[in-house]
């Protein structure tokens, strides 16, 4: 310490901490693959937080460990430490720095949120999409909702509110390429394609297309989550939800129910299959062909549905309403 002045060490430490934090922020490998346009936005935000967090973590933990070693009680010394009661500039400093950081993070979050389409669920003004939203087979009586829209347009709590993520600002004016009605029920997801009449236990979507999921729940609250898309929206009985996204990577990803929905909540999992455009067209064609007139034959050819998965791990559920409901819907 005699030869080298303290500011020099501070500088070196500062640079080291910065470099380590920057490296950790980019190479933590904590998040799964990115498979939607929103995913990189979320991950960039997380990486920034991870970088700042790592720096703060190292600095504070370092200060703690340093104090514990440097300022431990000397043997046989029963006296007290220095009577320092505070230091206004220092306190102002460590109030201001976090304040600046959180304001920055807040603003950044708003930007990310907006780019993700967080400000436009249910169309531009929060309704309008609602009319289209009302699914034919909905368990919810939509008549009052439509009435509400006509008479009481501006109520904050109006049922015209749709929750979730809508179109990103770039495609705001466009209609989605594919729309899927998603219904959560104990303990399965049902995906219905209103354009083609397909019903399935797995979600099939084309890559690089604008997909809109209209999410509702039949019995209790569920939550639709695809970790690789970084998107989640609760399926609320009586409250319409929406997720609109573009899948950017072909593959099969899990669809997970994230809200406790009963005994077999943990087994309420299925898959989303992101097809190439050709594969998707093939899939649609095969499903439509299958569903044509000879309805009696129509047994679902889902490979590993929740129900089967459930039957495997929990045989007593095999006769649960899930399967009955699911089969019923498919045969419809």
């Amino acid at each position: 310490m005699k030869q080298i002045p303290a500011p020099f060490w501070t500088l070196i430490l500062g640079i080291a901490v910065t470099l380590i934090s920057l490296w950790v922020g980019q190479n933590h490998n904590l998040l799964p693959v990115q498979a939607s346009e929103q995913a990189p936005l979320v991950d960039d935000l997380f990486n920034v937080m991870m970088t700042i967090g790592t720096a703060l973590f190292i600095v504070v933990q370092g200060a703690i460990v340093y104090s514990l070693i440097r300022f431990r009680q000397p043997k046989g010394d029963d006296t007290d430490g220095l009577p320092i009661e505070g230091n206004l500039p220092l306190e102002a400093f460590w109030t201001a720095i976090p304040a600046v950081i959180v304001v920055g993070l807040g603003l950044y979050s708003v930007v990310v949120f907006q780019e993700m389409g967080g400000f436009s669920p249910g169309g531009h003004h929060g309704h309008g999409a609602m009319v289209a939203m009302a699914p034919q087979q909905s368990v919810i009586d939509v008549a009052p909702l439509l009435l509400a829209q006509g008479l009481d347009d501006d109520t904050v709590f109006g049922k015209t509110q749709v929750y979730g993520f809508g179109a990103s600002p770039l495609v705001q004016m466009n209609q989605p390429d594919v729309t899927v009605n998603v219904t959560g029920m104990q303990f399965a997801w049902i995906f219905r394609y209103p354009d083609t009449g397909i019903t399935d236990g797995e979600l099939h979507i084309p890559v690089d297309k604008d997909v809109q999921l209209k999410i509702e729940a039949q019995d209790v609250i569920h939550s639709f989550w695809v970790p690789q898309f970084r998107l989640k929206q609760d399926a609320l009985p009586g409250e319409p939800g929406e997720l609109r996204f573009v899948a950017t990577r072909e593959g099969t990803y899990p669809v997970v129910c994230a809200e406790l929905c009963g005994s077999y909540h943990g087994a309420m999992r299925t898959q989303v299959i992101v097809h190439s455009p050709e594969d998707y067209a093939d899939w649609v064609a095969s499903r439509v062909a299958e569903a044509t007139p000879t309805t009696t034959v129509a047994q679902p050819i889902e490979k590993a549905t929740d129900a089967e998965y459930l039957a495997e791990i929990a045989p007593d559920l095999a006769r649960s309403p899930v399967q009955i409901a699911q089969t019923g819907l498919v045969n419809h």
Partner: protein, 203 residues
């Protein structure tokens, strides 16, 4: 600052300590408690307002509210707040008979209010389960009614205790004071409740 050496007069010995401990904090405690209690009602009111905002027809057609009787009831309850105040004013002047008279009248008014509430319940033609509005209606008025009932018991308790000679005097009157504060609380809650559940239906 915290390090300073304080040189305020020494407080030791039971004489001084006893004086300090005779401070009556119950009124303060009651007010604190009622602030908290009010927030429970605020919760109910918030729920009511959310439902009101999200339903086109509120209250729905078959569950309209009566207005005349509750308005009379409101007048009775609001004026009883003024009456009970006369009671505590009386005891502060050491006028025990006056206090008993005014508290008695307040109790009677409270009882009339409750009776009116029960009468209203019986003649509305719908019950707790009829629809969402009736859920809210019976729950909030019912909870308020329970509070009126407790207030009534407090007043009757004060009257009961006041039989003992010198129990309440111009210097010892925390009991009546607390009963009065509680009664005002019940009154304020009712005014909010009446405005929300009854008067708002006029708009």
């Amino acid at each position: 600052m915290q390090g300073a050496i304080d040189s305020t007069p020494v407080v030791t010995g039971h004489e001084v300590a006893a004086h300090e401990e005779h401070q009556d904090l119950r009124v303060l405690g009651l007010i604190t408690f009622l602030a908290s209690e009010f927030l429970m009602f605020a919760g109910f009111f918030a729920v009511f307002l959310v439902f009101r905002g999200s339903h086109v027809q509120w209250p729905p057609e078959e569950t309209e509210v009566e207005l005349l009787l509750p308005a009379v009831n409101t007048l009775i309850l609001v004026s009883s707040s003024w009456v009970i105040n006369l009671g505590t004013k009386a005891i502060k002047k050491n006028d025990l008979a006056g206090m008993r008279k005014w508290f008695g009248i307040t109790a009677a008014m409270g009882a009339i209010f409750l009776a009116g509430q029960v009468y209203e319940y019986m003649n509305l033609g719908y019950g707790l389960k009829t629809n969402l509005f009736s859920n809210c209606f019976y729950l909030t008025t019912g909870f308020h009614g329970a509070h009126v009932f407790i207030g009534l018991l407090l007043i009757l308790g004060v009257l009961w205790r006041s039989r003992r000679a010198n129990h309440y005097t111009d210097i010892t009157h925390t009991g009546p004071e607390m009963a009065e504060i509680y009664w005002h609380f019940v009154d304020v809650v009712w005014i909010v409740l009446f405005s929300l559940i009854y008067l708002l239906t006029l708009i």
